[in-house]
Amino acid sequence: MHIHLVQLLSPSKTPTALALPLFTGKVAAGFPSPADDYIEKTLDLNELLVQKPSATFFARAQGESMLGAGIHPDDILIVDRSLEPVSGRIVICALNGELVVKRLKNQAGQWLLASENPYYPDIPLHEELEMVVWGVVTNVIHPL
Protein backbone atom coordinates (compact mmCIF):
# COMPACT_ATOMS: atom_id res chain seq x y z
CA MET A 1 0.00 0.00 0.00
CA HIS A 2 2.82 2.35 -0.70
CA ILE A 3 2.02 5.74 -2.07
CA HIS A 4 4.67 6.88 -4.51
CA LEU A 5 3.49 10.34 -5.27
CA VAL A 6 5.78 12.84 -6.83
CA GLN A 7 5.80 15.14 -3.91
CA LEU A 8 9.21 16.55 -3.33
CA LEU A 9 8.44 17.90 0.10
CA SER A 10 7.04 14.84 1.81
CA PRO A 11 9.28 12.58 3.86
CA SER A 12 9.22 9.81 1.31
CA LYS A 13 10.64 6.43 2.17
CA THR A 14 13.64 6.79 -0.03
CA PRO A 15 13.77 10.53 -0.21
CA THR A 16 14.96 11.85 -3.53
CA ALA A 17 15.16 8.62 -5.42
CA LEU A 18 11.38 8.52 -5.57
CA ALA A 19 10.91 11.82 -7.23
CA LEU A 20 11.02 10.72 -10.85
CA PRO A 21 10.27 7.05 -11.38
CA LEU A 22 10.07 7.32 -15.17
CA PHE A 23 11.86 9.38 -17.77
CA THR A 24 14.60 10.35 -15.37
CA GLY A 25 17.27 9.74 -17.94
CA LYS A 26 18.69 12.24 -20.31
CA VAL A 27 17.35 12.74 -23.78
CA ALA A 28 18.62 9.88 -25.89
CA ALA A 29 19.62 12.01 -28.86
CA GLY A 30 22.47 14.51 -28.84
CA PHE A 31 25.89 14.67 -27.20
CA PRO A 32 26.33 13.85 -23.53
CA SER A 33 27.08 16.90 -21.45
CA PRO A 34 30.77 17.23 -20.57
CA ALA A 35 29.68 18.19 -17.06
CA ASP A 36 28.02 14.81 -16.45
CA ASP A 37 31.13 13.34 -14.87
CA TYR A 38 31.11 16.04 -12.21
CA ILE A 39 27.53 15.61 -11.07
CA GLU A 40 27.51 14.02 -7.65
CA LYS A 41 24.09 14.64 -6.23
CA THR A 42 21.74 17.42 -5.36
CA LEU A 43 21.21 18.50 -1.77
CA ASP A 44 18.17 16.91 -0.27
CA LEU A 45 16.41 18.46 2.72
CA ASN A 46 14.96 15.09 3.66
CA GLU A 47 18.46 13.81 4.17
CA LEU A 48 19.20 16.69 6.53
CA LEU A 49 15.93 16.79 8.44
CA VAL A 50 14.39 13.32 8.35
CA GLN A 51 16.31 10.48 10.01
CA LYS A 52 13.49 7.94 10.02
CA PRO A 53 10.84 8.59 7.37
CA SER A 54 8.44 5.99 8.75
CA ALA A 55 8.43 7.67 12.17
CA THR A 56 8.54 11.29 10.98
CA PHE A 57 5.43 13.45 11.03
CA PHE A 58 4.81 17.13 10.44
CA ALA A 59 2.64 19.32 12.61
CA ARG A 60 1.62 22.97 12.55
CA ALA A 61 2.23 25.11 15.62
CA GLN A 62 -0.48 27.32 17.08
CA GLY A 63 0.16 29.73 19.96
CA GLU A 64 3.09 31.60 21.44
CA SER A 65 4.17 29.66 24.52
CA MET A 66 7.28 28.31 22.76
CA LEU A 67 8.59 31.51 21.18
CA GLY A 68 11.79 31.26 23.23
CA ALA A 69 12.54 27.93 21.58
CA GLY A 70 12.11 29.50 18.16
CA ILE A 71 8.63 28.09 17.55
CA HIS A 72 6.30 30.75 16.15
CA PRO A 73 2.61 30.53 15.28
CA ASP A 74 2.08 28.68 11.96
CA ASP A 75 5.56 27.17 11.92
CA ILE A 76 5.87 23.59 10.76
CA LEU A 77 7.40 21.21 13.27
CA ILE A 78 9.28 18.09 12.24
CA VAL A 79 8.50 15.33 14.70
CA ASP A 80 10.32 12.03 15.12
CA ARG A 81 8.23 9.55 17.08
CA SER A 82 11.04 7.03 17.40
CA LEU A 83 13.28 9.27 19.54
CA GLU A 84 13.51 8.84 23.30
CA PRO A 85 11.68 11.70 25.08
CA VAL A 86 14.42 12.60 27.55
CA SER A 87 14.56 15.62 29.83
CA GLY A 88 15.44 18.78 27.89
CA ARG A 89 13.85 17.78 24.59
CA ILE A 90 10.94 19.59 23.03
CA VAL A 91 8.07 17.16 22.72
CA ILE A 92 4.55 16.95 21.41
CA CYS A 93 2.34 15.27 23.93
CA ALA A 94 -1.29 14.39 24.26
CA LEU A 95 -2.35 16.27 27.36
CA ASN A 96 -5.92 15.47 28.42
CA GLY A 97 -6.72 14.60 24.81
CA GLU A 98 -5.10 17.65 23.25
CA LEU A 99 -1.80 17.77 21.34
CA VAL A 100 0.55 20.35 22.87
CA VAL A 101 4.18 21.35 22.39
CA LYS A 102 6.37 21.89 25.46
CA ARG A 103 9.87 21.27 26.70
CA LEU A 104 10.08 18.16 28.82
CA LYS A 105 12.06 18.81 31.98
CA ASN A 106 12.99 16.92 35.08
CA GLN A 107 13.74 19.36 37.89
CA ALA A 108 14.91 17.64 41.06
CA GLY A 109 12.75 14.62 40.41
CA GLN A 110 9.67 16.60 39.33
CA TRP A 111 8.68 16.25 35.67
CA LEU A 112 7.47 19.44 34.00
CA LEU A 113 6.08 20.49 30.65
CA ALA A 114 7.89 23.80 30.43
CA SER A 115 6.91 26.77 28.28
CA GLU A 116 9.52 28.99 26.63
CA ASN A 117 7.71 32.24 27.24
CA PRO A 118 7.54 33.99 30.63
CA TYR A 119 3.83 34.71 30.14
CA TYR A 120 2.95 31.04 30.06
CA PRO A 121 3.19 28.82 33.15
CA ASP A 122 4.99 25.47 33.28
CA ILE A 123 2.80 22.43 33.79
CA PRO A 124 3.99 20.06 36.52
CA LEU A 125 3.05 16.44 35.77
CA HIS A 126 1.06 14.60 38.39
CA GLU A 127 -1.11 11.53 38.76
CA GLU A 128 -4.42 13.03 37.63
CA LEU A 129 -2.93 14.54 34.49
CA GLU A 130 -3.34 12.27 31.49
CA MET A 131 -0.15 12.70 29.50
CA VAL A 132 1.34 10.61 26.72
CA VAL A 133 4.38 11.72 24.73
CA TRP A 134 3.45 11.70 21.03
CA GLY A 135 6.85 12.48 19.53
CA VAL A 136 10.03 14.49 19.83
CA VAL A 137 10.33 17.73 17.85
CA THR A 138 13.62 17.79 15.95
CA ASN A 139 13.35 20.89 13.74
CA VAL A 140 11.20 23.92 13.03
CA ILE A 141 10.41 25.24 9.58
CA HIS A 142 9.90 28.98 9.95
CA PRO A 143 9.27 31.16 6.89
CA LEU A 144 10.95 34.56 7.04
Binding site: S10, P21, R60, G63, M66, L77, V132
Partner: protein, 425 residues
Protein backbone atom coordinates in the same frame (compact mmCIF):
# COMPACT_ATOMS: atom_id res chain seq x y z
CA UNK B 1 15.24 -25.99 11.72
CA UNK B 2 11.47 -25.46 11.79
CA UNK B 3 10.17 -22.28 10.21
CA UNK B 4 9.10 -19.36 12.31
CA UNK B 5 6.45 -17.23 10.64
CA UNK B 6 4.90 -14.18 12.27
CA UNK B 7 1.69 -12.47 11.31
CA UNK B 8 1.61 -8.84 12.40
CA UNK B 9 -1.88 -7.39 12.25
CA UNK B 10 -2.93 -3.89 13.26
CA UNK B 11 -5.69 -3.53 15.84
CA UNK B 12 -8.75 -1.79 14.36
CA UNK B 13 -6.41 -0.25 11.80
CA UNK B 14 -8.59 2.50 10.32
CA UNK B 15 -9.78 3.59 13.75
CA UNK B 16 -6.20 3.56 15.06
CA UNK B 17 -5.11 5.79 12.16
CA UNK B 18 -7.81 8.33 13.07
CA UNK B 19 -6.92 8.26 16.76
CA UNK B 20 -3.25 9.06 16.24
CA UNK B 21 -4.22 12.60 15.31
CA UNK B 22 -7.21 12.77 17.65
CA UNK B 23 -5.94 11.63 21.04
CA UNK B 24 -9.20 12.91 22.52
CA UNK B 25 -10.87 9.86 20.93
CA UNK B 26 -8.74 7.29 22.75
CA UNK B 27 -11.07 5.17 24.83
CA UNK B 28 -14.16 6.56 23.09
CA UNK B 29 -16.33 4.65 20.59
CA UNK B 30 -15.27 5.31 16.99
CA UNK B 31 -16.31 3.81 13.65
CA UNK B 32 -15.09 4.30 10.10
CA UNK B 33 -17.62 4.17 7.27
CA UNK B 34 -17.38 2.80 3.73
CA UNK B 35 -16.79 4.87 0.62
CA UNK B 36 -20.28 6.28 0.56
CA UNK B 37 -20.71 6.64 4.28
CA UNK B 38 -23.28 3.85 4.22
CA UNK B 39 -21.66 0.91 5.96
CA UNK B 40 -19.43 0.39 8.99
CA UNK B 41 -16.04 -0.93 7.88
CA UNK B 42 -13.98 -0.46 11.05
CA UNK B 43 -14.89 -0.36 14.72
CA UNK B 44 -13.05 0.55 17.87
CA UNK B 45 -13.13 -1.99 20.70
CA UNK B 46 -15.79 0.10 22.50
CA UNK B 47 -18.04 -0.23 19.45
CA UNK B 48 -17.42 -3.98 19.14
CA UNK B 49 -18.39 -4.28 22.80
CA UNK B 50 -21.74 -2.63 21.99
CA UNK B 51 -22.43 -5.52 19.62
CA UNK B 52 -22.29 -3.45 16.43
CA UNK B 53 -21.24 -5.75 13.60
CA UNK B 54 -18.74 -5.26 10.82
CA UNK B 55 -20.58 -4.27 7.65
CA UNK B 56 -23.65 -2.99 9.48
CA UNK B 57 -25.52 -0.25 7.59
CA UNK B 58 -25.37 3.03 9.50
CA UNK B 59 -29.14 3.57 9.50
CA UNK B 60 -29.66 0.25 11.29
CA UNK B 61 -27.53 1.29 14.25
CA UNK B 62 -28.35 5.00 14.27
CA UNK B 63 -29.99 4.63 17.69
CA UNK B 64 -26.85 3.17 19.25
CA UNK B 65 -24.72 5.80 17.50
CA UNK B 66 -26.76 8.61 19.03
CA UNK B 67 -27.07 7.05 22.46
CA UNK B 68 -23.37 6.29 22.87
CA UNK B 69 -22.15 9.36 20.99
CA UNK B 70 -20.18 7.17 18.61
CA UNK B 71 -17.77 9.24 16.55
CA UNK B 72 -18.17 8.57 12.80
CA UNK B 73 -15.48 8.98 10.16
CA UNK B 74 -15.70 8.65 6.39
CA UNK B 75 -12.89 6.44 5.15
CA UNK B 76 -9.72 8.42 4.52
CA UNK B 77 -7.74 6.03 2.33
CA UNK B 78 -5.03 8.59 1.70
CA UNK B 79 -4.25 8.58 5.40
CA UNK B 80 -4.63 4.81 5.84
CA UNK B 81 -2.40 4.02 2.86
CA UNK B 82 0.32 6.33 4.18
CA UNK B 83 0.12 4.90 7.70
CA UNK B 84 0.15 1.38 6.25
CA UNK B 85 3.30 2.08 4.30
CA UNK B 86 4.94 3.41 7.49
CA UNK B 87 4.00 0.28 9.42
CA UNK B 88 5.33 -1.97 6.64
CA UNK B 89 8.62 -0.15 6.44
CA UNK B 90 9.11 -0.49 10.21
CA UNK B 91 8.39 -4.23 9.87
CA UNK B 92 10.97 -4.54 7.12
CA UNK B 93 13.65 -3.81 9.71
CA UNK B 94 12.77 -7.02 11.53
CA UNK B 95 12.98 -9.58 8.76
CA UNK B 96 14.76 -10.35 5.52
CA UNK B 97 11.45 -11.56 4.08
CA UNK B 98 8.15 -9.68 4.39
CA UNK B 99 4.85 -10.37 2.68
CA UNK B 100 2.45 -7.45 2.79
CA UNK B 101 -0.78 -9.39 2.98
CA UNK B 102 -3.23 -6.51 3.19
CA UNK B 103 -3.36 -2.86 4.15
CA UNK B 104 -3.05 -3.74 7.82
CA UNK B 105 -1.30 -7.10 8.05
CA UNK B 106 1.97 -8.69 6.98
CA UNK B 107 3.68 -12.05 7.26
CA UNK B 108 7.30 -12.00 8.41
CA UNK B 109 9.69 -14.91 8.00
CA UNK B 110 11.60 -14.97 11.28
CA UNK B 111 13.25 -18.35 10.78
CA UNK B 112 16.69 -18.16 12.33
CA UNK B 113 16.11 -14.56 13.33
CA UNK B 114 14.66 -15.05 16.79
CA UNK B 115 15.16 -18.72 17.67
CA UNK B 116 16.19 -18.11 21.26
CA UNK B 117 13.27 -15.97 22.38
CA UNK B 118 10.46 -15.49 19.86
CA UNK B 119 8.12 -13.85 22.38
CA UNK B 120 10.67 -11.17 23.26
CA UNK B 121 11.23 -10.54 19.56
CA UNK B 122 7.49 -10.27 18.94
CA UNK B 123 7.16 -7.81 21.79
CA UNK B 124 10.01 -5.79 20.34
CA UNK B 125 8.17 -5.65 16.98
CA UNK B 126 4.93 -4.58 18.66
CA UNK B 127 6.66 -1.91 20.71
CA UNK B 128 8.67 -0.49 17.81
CA UNK B 129 5.70 -0.28 15.45
CA UNK B 130 3.66 1.53 18.07
CA UNK B 131 6.46 3.85 19.04
CA UNK B 132 7.31 4.81 15.44
CA UNK B 133 3.85 5.05 13.94
CA UNK B 134 1.32 5.10 16.78
CA UNK B 135 -0.40 2.01 15.37
CA UNK B 136 -1.07 -0.79 17.89
CA UNK B 137 -0.49 -4.29 16.49
CA UNK B 138 -0.69 -7.89 17.63
CA UNK B 139 1.89 -10.51 16.70
CA UNK B 140 1.09 -14.19 16.16
CA UNK B 141 3.86 -16.70 15.55
CA UNK B 142 4.04 -20.32 14.48
CA UNK B 143 5.75 -22.76 12.14
CA UNK B 144 3.24 -22.12 9.33
CA UNK B 145 1.27 -19.16 7.99
CA UNK B 146 -2.03 -20.71 9.07
CA UNK B 147 -0.73 -21.19 12.62
CA UNK B 148 0.65 -17.64 12.68
CA UNK B 149 -2.82 -16.42 11.70
CA UNK B 150 -4.39 -18.50 14.45
CA UNK B 151 -1.84 -17.22 16.97
CA UNK B 152 -2.66 -13.66 15.95
CA UNK B 153 -6.37 -14.30 16.39
CA UNK B 154 -5.72 -15.59 19.91
CA UNK B 155 -3.31 -12.74 20.73
CA UNK B 156 -6.07 -10.29 19.84
CA UNK B 157 -8.82 -12.10 21.70
CA UNK B 158 -6.98 -12.86 24.94
CA UNK B 159 -5.49 -9.82 26.62
CA UNK B 160 -3.28 -11.98 28.89
CA UNK B 161 -1.08 -12.71 25.88
CA UNK B 162 0.03 -9.07 25.89
CA UNK B 163 -0.71 -9.06 22.18
CA UNK B 164 2.05 -11.53 21.32
CA UNK B 165 1.61 -15.29 21.05
CA UNK B 166 3.88 -18.07 19.81
CA UNK B 167 2.35 -21.41 18.81
CA UNK B 168 5.53 -23.31 17.99
CA UNK B 169 5.02 -25.64 20.96
CA UNK B 170 2.61 -28.47 19.92
CA UNK B 171 1.18 -28.95 23.43
CA UNK B 172 0.31 -25.30 23.73
CA UNK B 173 -1.12 -25.38 20.22
CA UNK B 174 -3.46 -28.26 21.08
CA UNK B 175 -4.69 -26.49 24.19
CA UNK B 176 -5.65 -23.42 22.19
CA UNK B 177 -7.10 -25.35 19.26
CA UNK B 178 -9.47 -27.22 21.55
CA UNK B 179 -11.19 -24.01 22.61
CA UNK B 180 -11.35 -22.14 19.29
CA UNK B 181 -14.14 -22.67 16.77
CA UNK B 182 -13.11 -24.08 13.38
CA UNK B 183 -14.61 -21.07 11.61
CA UNK B 184 -11.76 -18.94 12.94
CA UNK B 185 -9.21 -20.84 10.84
CA UNK B 186 -7.68 -18.85 7.99
CA UNK B 187 -9.25 -19.96 4.72
CA UNK B 188 -12.28 -21.65 6.30
CA UNK B 189 -15.28 -19.61 5.23
CA UNK B 190 -18.72 -19.87 6.79
CA UNK B 191 -19.99 -22.38 4.20
CA UNK B 192 -17.07 -24.75 4.67
CA UNK B 193 -17.38 -24.31 8.42
CA UNK B 194 -21.03 -25.37 8.26
CA UNK B 195 -20.13 -28.51 6.29
CA UNK B 196 -17.34 -29.32 8.71
CA UNK B 197 -19.75 -28.91 11.62
CA UNK B 198 -22.07 -31.46 10.01
CA UNK B 199 -19.18 -33.90 10.04
CA UNK B 200 -18.71 -33.25 13.74
CA UNK B 201 -15.67 -31.05 13.20
CA UNK B 202 -16.31 -28.09 15.48
CA UNK B 203 -13.06 -26.89 16.99
CA UNK B 204 -9.76 -26.11 15.30
CA UNK B 205 -8.38 -29.20 16.99
CA UNK B 206 -11.07 -31.40 15.42
CA UNK B 207 -9.87 -30.21 12.02
CA UNK B 208 -6.14 -30.38 12.76
CA UNK B 209 -6.63 -33.96 13.96
CA UNK B 210 -8.21 -35.13 10.68
CA UNK B 211 -6.34 -37.37 8.24
CA UNK B 212 -5.28 -35.14 5.35
CA UNK B 213 -6.48 -37.54 2.63
CA UNK B 214 -9.97 -37.73 4.14
CA UNK B 215 -10.32 -33.95 3.99
CA UNK B 216 -8.95 -33.92 0.47
CA UNK B 217 -11.56 -36.51 -0.61
CA UNK B 218 -14.47 -34.73 1.02
CA UNK B 219 -13.42 -31.15 0.31
CA UNK B 220 -10.50 -30.09 -1.83
CA UNK B 221 -6.76 -29.70 -1.92
CA UNK B 222 -6.91 -26.19 -0.45
CA UNK B 223 -8.68 -27.34 2.71
CA UNK B 224 -6.33 -30.34 2.89
CA UNK B 225 -3.39 -27.95 2.82
CA UNK B 226 -4.97 -25.96 5.62
CA UNK B 227 -5.11 -29.17 7.70
CA UNK B 228 -1.43 -29.82 7.03
CA UNK B 229 -0.59 -26.26 8.00
CA UNK B 230 -2.52 -26.71 11.25
CA UNK B 231 -0.42 -29.82 11.90
CA UNK B 232 2.67 -27.65 11.61
CA UNK B 233 3.68 -28.70 8.09
CA UNK B 234 4.28 -25.59 5.99
CA UNK B 235 2.48 -25.66 2.62
CA UNK B 236 2.13 -21.95 1.92
CA UNK B 237 5.16 -19.89 1.12
CA UNK B 238 5.63 -16.24 1.78
CA UNK B 239 4.83 -14.13 -1.24
CA UNK B 240 7.62 -11.67 -0.81
CA UNK B 241 7.82 -10.59 -4.40
CA UNK B 242 4.94 -9.08 -6.28
CA UNK B 243 3.58 -12.15 -8.08
CA UNK B 244 2.18 -10.37 -11.07
CA UNK B 245 4.41 -8.25 -13.24
CA UNK B 246 1.78 -7.78 -15.90
CA UNK B 247 1.01 -4.28 -16.95
CA UNK B 248 -1.51 -2.54 -19.13
CA UNK B 249 -0.33 0.69 -20.70
CA UNK B 250 -2.49 3.11 -22.61
CA UNK B 251 -0.87 6.26 -23.96
CA UNK B 252 -0.58 8.32 -27.11
CA UNK B 253 1.28 11.26 -28.58
CA UNK B 254 -1.05 14.14 -29.28
CA UNK B 255 -1.57 15.42 -32.79
CA UNK B 256 -1.08 18.95 -31.49
CA UNK B 257 0.55 20.06 -28.26
CA UNK B 258 -1.71 20.40 -25.24
CA UNK B 259 -1.22 23.18 -22.73
CA UNK B 260 -4.24 22.99 -20.40
CA UNK B 261 -4.69 20.56 -17.54
CA UNK B 262 -8.31 20.13 -18.64
CA UNK B 263 -7.25 18.94 -22.10
CA UNK B 264 -4.75 16.50 -20.68
CA UNK B 265 -7.36 15.28 -18.25
CA UNK B 266 -9.79 14.52 -21.06
CA UNK B 267 -7.17 12.60 -23.00
CA UNK B 268 -6.03 10.76 -19.90
CA UNK B 269 -9.59 9.79 -19.00
CA UNK B 270 -9.95 8.33 -22.46
CA UNK B 271 -6.76 6.27 -22.02
CA UNK B 272 -8.01 5.12 -18.64
CA UNK B 273 -11.29 3.94 -20.14
CA UNK B 274 -9.40 1.90 -22.75
CA UNK B 275 -7.05 0.42 -20.16
CA UNK B 276 -9.93 -0.44 -17.82
CA UNK B 277 -11.73 -2.13 -20.69
CA UNK B 278 -8.70 -4.30 -21.40
CA UNK B 279 -8.51 -5.09 -17.72
CA UNK B 280 -12.13 -6.24 -17.58
CA UNK B 281 -11.76 -8.13 -20.84
CA UNK B 282 -9.16 -10.36 -19.24
CA UNK B 283 -11.21 -10.44 -16.04
CA UNK B 284 -8.51 -8.85 -13.90
CA UNK B 285 -8.20 -6.10 -11.35
CA UNK B 286 -5.38 -3.59 -10.98
CA UNK B 287 -3.87 -2.54 -7.67
CA UNK B 288 -1.50 0.10 -8.96
CA UNK B 289 -2.03 3.09 -11.21
CA UNK B 290 0.63 5.36 -12.59
CA UNK B 291 0.43 8.31 -14.92
CA UNK B 292 3.12 10.03 -16.92
CA UNK B 293 3.22 13.18 -18.98
CA UNK B 294 5.93 14.93 -20.96
CA UNK B 295 6.75 17.65 -23.42
CA UNK B 296 8.48 16.83 -26.70
CA UNK B 297 12.01 15.79 -25.65
CA UNK B 298 13.32 16.28 -29.19
CA UNK B 299 12.34 19.87 -29.47
CA UNK B 300 15.15 21.45 -27.52
CA UNK B 301 13.91 24.96 -28.22
CA UNK B 302 11.00 24.41 -25.89
CA UNK B 303 11.12 24.23 -22.10
CA UNK B 304 11.13 20.58 -21.08
CA UNK B 305 9.06 18.91 -18.41
CA UNK B 306 8.42 15.26 -17.69
CA UNK B 307 6.94 13.59 -14.68
CA UNK B 308 5.48 10.29 -13.62
CA UNK B 309 3.64 9.39 -10.47
CA UNK B 310 1.87 6.30 -9.28
CA UNK B 311 0.04 5.00 -6.30
CA UNK B 312 -1.10 1.73 -4.89
CA UNK B 313 -4.84 1.54 -4.39
CA UNK B 314 -6.18 0.46 -1.01
CA UNK B 315 -8.09 -2.22 -2.90
CA UNK B 316 -7.64 -3.57 -6.41
CA UNK B 317 -10.24 -2.48 -8.94
CA UNK B 318 -11.45 -2.81 -12.50
CA UNK B 319 -13.82 0.11 -12.15
CA UNK B 320 -13.31 2.76 -14.83
CA UNK B 321 -14.53 5.43 -12.44
CA UNK B 322 -11.93 4.64 -9.80
CA UNK B 323 -9.17 4.43 -12.38
CA UNK B 324 -10.16 7.70 -14.03
CA UNK B 325 -10.49 9.51 -10.72
CA UNK B 326 -7.16 8.22 -9.43
CA UNK B 327 -5.33 8.97 -12.67
CA UNK B 328 -6.71 12.49 -12.67
CA UNK B 329 -5.58 13.03 -9.11
CA UNK B 330 -2.09 11.94 -10.12
CA UNK B 331 -2.21 14.19 -13.15
CA UNK B 332 -3.16 17.19 -11.01
CA UNK B 333 -0.28 16.49 -8.65
CA UNK B 334 2.19 16.71 -11.53
CA UNK B 335 0.72 19.17 -14.00
CA UNK B 336 2.54 22.46 -14.41
CA UNK B 337 1.23 25.22 -16.62
CA UNK B 338 3.47 26.91 -19.17
CA UNK B 339 4.56 23.79 -21.05
CA UNK B 340 3.47 22.31 -24.34
CA UNK B 341 2.69 18.68 -23.64
CA UNK B 342 3.23 16.07 -26.30
CA UNK B 343 2.31 12.82 -24.60
CA UNK B 344 0.65 11.37 -21.56
CA UNK B 345 -0.57 7.97 -20.54
CA UNK B 346 -1.69 5.63 -17.85
CA UNK B 347 -0.18 2.37 -16.70
CA UNK B 348 -2.04 -0.23 -14.65
CA UNK B 349 0.03 -2.57 -12.51
CA UNK B 350 -0.29 -5.17 -9.75
CA UNK B 351 -2.73 -6.98 -11.96
CA UNK B 352 -4.46 -9.99 -10.47
CA UNK B 353 -7.45 -12.21 -11.30
CA UNK B 354 -10.74 -10.48 -10.49
CA UNK B 355 -11.68 -12.96 -7.80
CA UNK B 356 -8.87 -14.04 -5.55
CA UNK B 357 -10.02 -16.56 -3.00
CA UNK B 358 -9.16 -15.69 0.56
CA UNK B 359 -9.11 -11.98 0.04
CA UNK B 360 -10.28 -10.12 3.08
CA UNK B 361 -13.97 -9.28 3.20
CA UNK B 362 -12.99 -5.84 4.36
CA UNK B 363 -12.05 -4.91 0.83
CA UNK B 364 -15.42 -5.88 -0.48
CA UNK B 365 -17.00 -3.57 2.03
CA UNK B 366 -14.45 -0.92 1.28
CA UNK B 367 -15.06 -1.16 -2.43
CA UNK B 368 -18.67 -0.37 -1.83
CA UNK B 369 -21.39 -2.28 -3.63
CA UNK B 370 -19.05 -4.40 -5.71
CA UNK B 371 -21.94 -6.21 -7.36
CA UNK B 372 -23.50 -3.05 -8.71
CA UNK B 373 -20.18 -1.83 -9.97
CA UNK B 374 -19.54 -4.99 -11.93
CA UNK B 375 -22.97 -4.70 -13.55
CA UNK B 376 -22.46 -1.07 -14.44
CA UNK B 377 -19.05 -1.77 -15.94
CA UNK B 378 -20.44 -4.69 -17.92
CA UNK B 379 -23.15 -2.46 -19.35
CA UNK B 380 -20.55 0.15 -20.24
CA UNK B 381 -18.44 -2.41 -22.09
CA UNK B 382 -21.47 -3.72 -23.99
CA UNK B 383 -22.47 -0.26 -25.14
CA UNK B 384 -18.90 0.42 -26.18
CA UNK B 385 -18.71 -2.78 -28.18
CA UNK B 386 -21.88 -1.98 -30.11
CA UNK B 387 -21.14 1.69 -30.56
CA UNK B 388 -17.38 1.91 -30.25
CA UNK B 389 -16.16 4.65 -27.96
CA UNK B 390 -19.60 6.14 -27.57
CA UNK B 391 -19.84 5.97 -23.82
CA UNK B 392 -17.23 7.75 -21.82
CA UNK B 393 -16.65 8.50 -18.29
CA UNK B 394 -16.90 12.20 -17.69
CA UNK B 395 -13.54 13.67 -16.87
CA UNK B 396 -12.58 17.26 -16.16
CA UNK B 397 -15.29 19.65 -15.15
CA UNK B 398 -17.37 16.87 -13.67
CA UNK B 399 -14.65 15.91 -11.30
CA UNK B 400 -16.80 16.42 -8.21
CA UNK B 401 -19.30 13.83 -9.34
CA UNK B 402 -16.64 11.19 -9.02
CA UNK B 403 -16.00 11.74 -5.44
CA UNK B 404 -17.83 9.32 -3.23
CA UNK B 405 -19.90 10.82 -0.49
CA UNK B 406 -17.50 11.45 2.35
CA UNK B 407 -18.98 13.98 4.67
CA UNK B 408 -17.06 13.03 7.76
CA UNK B 409 -13.61 12.60 6.31
CA UNK B 410 -10.67 13.53 8.50
CA UNK B 411 -7.69 15.53 7.32
CA UNK B 412 -4.92 14.16 5.13
CA UNK B 413 -2.56 14.77 8.03
CA UNK B 414 0.45 13.05 6.51
CA UNK B 415 0.22 13.87 2.81
CA UNK B 416 -0.98 17.46 2.49
CA UNK B 417 0.80 20.55 3.78
CA UNK B 418 -2.50 22.36 4.18
CA UNK B 419 -3.94 19.66 6.41
CA UNK B 420 -1.24 19.06 9.02
CA UNK B 421 -2.26 18.27 12.56
CA UNK B 422 -2.44 21.40 14.73
CA UNK B 423 -0.44 21.36 17.96
CA UNK B 424 -0.89 23.97 20.67
CA UNK B 425 2.00 25.91 22.07
Amino acid sequence: MPQCIALVDANNFYVSCERIFRPDLIGKPVVVLSNNDGIIVARSQEVKDLGIKMGAPVFQVQGLINRHKIQLFSSNYTLYADMSSRVMSVLEEFTPCLEVYSIDEAFLDLTGVCSDDPIAYGQQIKKTVFRSTGIPVCVGMGPTKTLAKLANFAAKRWKQTGGVLDLSDPARREKLMRIVSVKEVWGIGSRIAARLNQLGIRTVWDLADQPVDRIQDQFNITIARTVMELKGIACLELDAVAPDKQQIVSSRSFSHRLTECRELSEALSEFCSRAAEKLRHQNSVAGYISVFLRTNPFNLDEPQYQRAAGLTLPFATQDTRVIVATANRLLKSMFKPGYRYQKCGVQLGKIAPATVPGQADLFEFAAGDAGHRAQLMQALDQVNRRFPHSTRIAAAGFDQSWKPKAERISKRYTTDWEELVIVKC
